[in-house]
């Protein structure tokens, strides 16, 4: 290196103030969405409504006799396919993919030994937690939107499309129904915030990403089982999965917002508690991987 080289001189320049980490967040998102695994999961999620639509279309026997009545109504209106897909995916597929992303967040970095290099770069431990969590949230949104949009598109392709009948028996325009589909995707995203925080916390406990992913997914199943047992009724309002299927309140006329609010509040509680636990665990953990 020669000091007379003008480009070399400019390369030496440093920021005088520390940046907020927006650049790192953007790079984190780029890394997340550059992974083949992420795309595989999004494609698998998109396959859920597509499979439902194709199966219903092929059997075309009309009523399946099981599950929420409005799954049957996808034959009458393709715009319901996205909602039907979300309903099917919420108990297992969405928690599965979110568990993978959130459980991998810290443990995956520890596993590839990139964690120590991120920390000495230095990214700052709290900032790393926040960025990892936000990236998981973006993935939740991408996942639910993928489901909705894939469902709506396959619905338009295979079934008649028209004004949508709500649970209240009222009929709304296509535009209104698309807005409601978007709201439901948002609702599902919010529903997954607590689970993402739990996954982040578990991810700080181990260097084995698979373990963290599995633990997160198992917890989501345990929560849903507890939610269905009448013996644990006192616990139900505190389970992060309690309001997961209450997005149906967005299909009423007028929209019933209370479950959205309660769900958001509950998820916020989980984010605060498990965010604090993750901070407690990670802020002075020895990074020995």
């Amino acid at each position: 290196m020669s000091s007379s080289d003008p480009t070399a001189a400019s390369l030496v320049a440093r920021r005088t103030r520390r940046s907020l980490g927006v650049g790192f967040f953007a790079s984190e998102l780029a890394v997340l969405f550059r992974r083949r695994r992420t795309w595989a999961m999004l494609l698998a999620l998109a396959a859920v409504p597509i499979l439902i639509a194709v199966a219903v279309r092929i059997s075309s026997s009309g009523s399946s006799g099981r599950g929420p009545a409005f799954i049957d109504s996808i034959t009458q209106n393709g715009l319901f396919v996205g909602i039907a897909g979300l309903t099917i995916a919420i108990p297992l597929f969405l928690p599965l993919t979110v568990g993978v992303v959130a459980g991998d967040s810290i443990a995956g970095e520890a596993n590839t030994a990139t964690l120590r290099y991120l920390l000495v770069s230095p990214v700052g431990r709290i900032r790393l937690l926040v960025v990892k969590y936000l990236a998981a949230v973006v993935f939740c949104l991408a996942a639910t939107l993928t489901l909705s949009i894939a469902g709506i598109l396959i619905g338009i392709a295979l079934f008649p499309v028209g004004p949508v009948t709500l649970l209240s028996g009222d009929t709304v325009s296509i535009g209104d129904s698309l807005v409601r589909s978007l709201l439901i995707a948002l609702y599902a995203t919010v529903s997954l915030l607590g689970l993402s925080a739990i996954g982040l916390f578990i991810s700080t406990l181990t260097d084995a990403p698979v373990g963290a992913m599995a633990a997160t997914v198992v917890l989501s199943i345990v929560a849903q089982v507890l939610d269905s047992l009448s013996q644990t009724e006192w616990l139900h309002p505190w389970l992060f999965s309690h309001y997961w299927l209450d997005f149906a309140d967005l299909l009423r006329q007028p929209i019933e917002w209370s479950s959205f609010g309660q769900n958001a509040l509950l998820q916020l509680g989980y984010v605060v508690v498990f965010g604090a636990l993750a901070y407690g665990r990670f802020s002075s953990k020895d990074i020995l991987s």
Binding site: M1, T7, A8, S10, L11, V12, A13, R14, R15, R18, S19, L20, G21, G23, F24, A26, S27, E28, V31, R34, R35, R36, T112, A113, T114, L115, R116, Y117, L118, L119, V120, S121, P122, V123, G124, L128, S284, D286, I287, L288
Partner: protein
């Protein structure tokens, strides 16, 4: 412990003169004390070799220096600032390779470097690509920049790890076994890279168990054994701390031994007539006086050598010869 550092830890050196200073640094894993009362003094501008056999606590020390692991006791200051309290302002000036490289296998080499660079809050976005490609060029990875790290060889990953330490201008570079897995050409390049970094004024802290390597590039060194520092100082000081021997090659071995004995040396009993006579050279006697005495005594001298103990001898002497890892 042999302490050879001139300024020394006797007077608590003002931190500004030292790139790294630790006092009574201790790390315990459960019951095992892995680093025990370490007092490192790494002068600014030095190339500091950190020597020790496997499992002696080198990497653990480096982790504590960089704030990755919490010390169980003792104090650390890096570039004049307390660690880990000032971690945020110190680490941007420190480049590091810690116990081998670590990269996301599904990203290319340059994407990995860009990611790590963006994690540094003080690194300007504008010059990122230029800095990344310059760092890659410096370690000879310019052509493999866009290859996925998954497809890198061991040595290529090691080079990429070094490139990461060079992403920004640094005041201190910590390299934990940098030549691990490198081919001879790569080893030489790393050595010359370290020298050029030192020429730029960067302090380089290299850990290794390869003595030859340390001997070739370091100005200072410290030796660890089972978590304790057993020697520290400039290379010359360390060498002189070891023994210097005179080796006289002569057919008149007995006569030569006799002469040496009269001078106060202890050549022992020559193994066989005609074998070399060796003796430890005390500081009080100059080698040329020995030669003069030999000649005066009519000893036929075929060869005369003063052998400074190699660092390897010192290393073995200090850390024990056993192959088994201590602890």
């Amino acid at each position: 412990m042999i302490d050879c550092s001139g300024a020394g830890s006797s007077a608590p050196a003002h931190a500004s003169g030292l790139a790294i200073e630790t006092t009574a640094l201790t790390k315990r894993f459960g019951r095992q004390t892995v680093v025990d009362g370490l007092a490192l003094s790494v002068p600014r501008g030095s190339v500091f070799g950190f020597l020790g056999p496997n499992g002696s606590g080198k990497t653990t020390t480096i982790r504590m220096l960089l704030g990755l692991a919490q010390a169980s006791g003792g104090e650390i200051s890096v570039l004049g600032e307390r660690m880990p309290q000032k971690l945020g302002s110190v680490l941007p000036r420190v480049g590091a390779l810690i116990e081998g490289p670590g990269f996301s296998p599904f990203l290319s080499g340059s994407a990995n470097l860009r990611r790590l660079d963006s994690a540094d809050g003080f690194a300007p976005n504008g010059t990122r690509s230029a800095r990344v490609s310059r760092a890659l060029d410096r370690v000879g990875l310019g052509h493999a920049a866009d290859k996925k790290v998954r497809a890198y060889s061991l040595g290529m990953k090691q080079r990429l790890g070094i490139a990461n330490a060079l992403l920004a201008p640094r005041d201190l570079i910590v390299l934990d076994e940098p030549t691990n897995g490198l081919d001879p050409q790569g080893t030489r390049e790393v050595r010359s890279l370290i020298r050029s970094l030192a020429d730029e004024g960067t302090t380089v802290f290299v850990s290794s168990h390869l003595l030859a390597e340390i001997e070739q590039m370091c100005t200072h060194a410290a030796v660890m054994r089972a978590g304790r520092l057993v020697a520290q100082g400039t290379l010359d000081e360390l060498r002189s701390a070891g023994t210097t021997r005179v080796i006289v090659t002569t057919p008149d071995a007995d006569a030569a031994a006799q002469v040496l004995r009269t001078l106060g040396l202890d050549p022992g009993h020559p193994d066989a007539p005609g074998a070399a006579v060796t003796a430890t050279l005390p500081e009080s006697i100059e080698p040329e006086d020995i030669v003069a005495a030999l000649v005066n005594a009519g000893v036929r001298v075929r060869g005369f050598a003063v052998d400074h103990a190699s660092l390897e001898d010192l290393f073995v002497a200090l850390t024990g010869e056993g192959f088994d890892v201590v602890q």
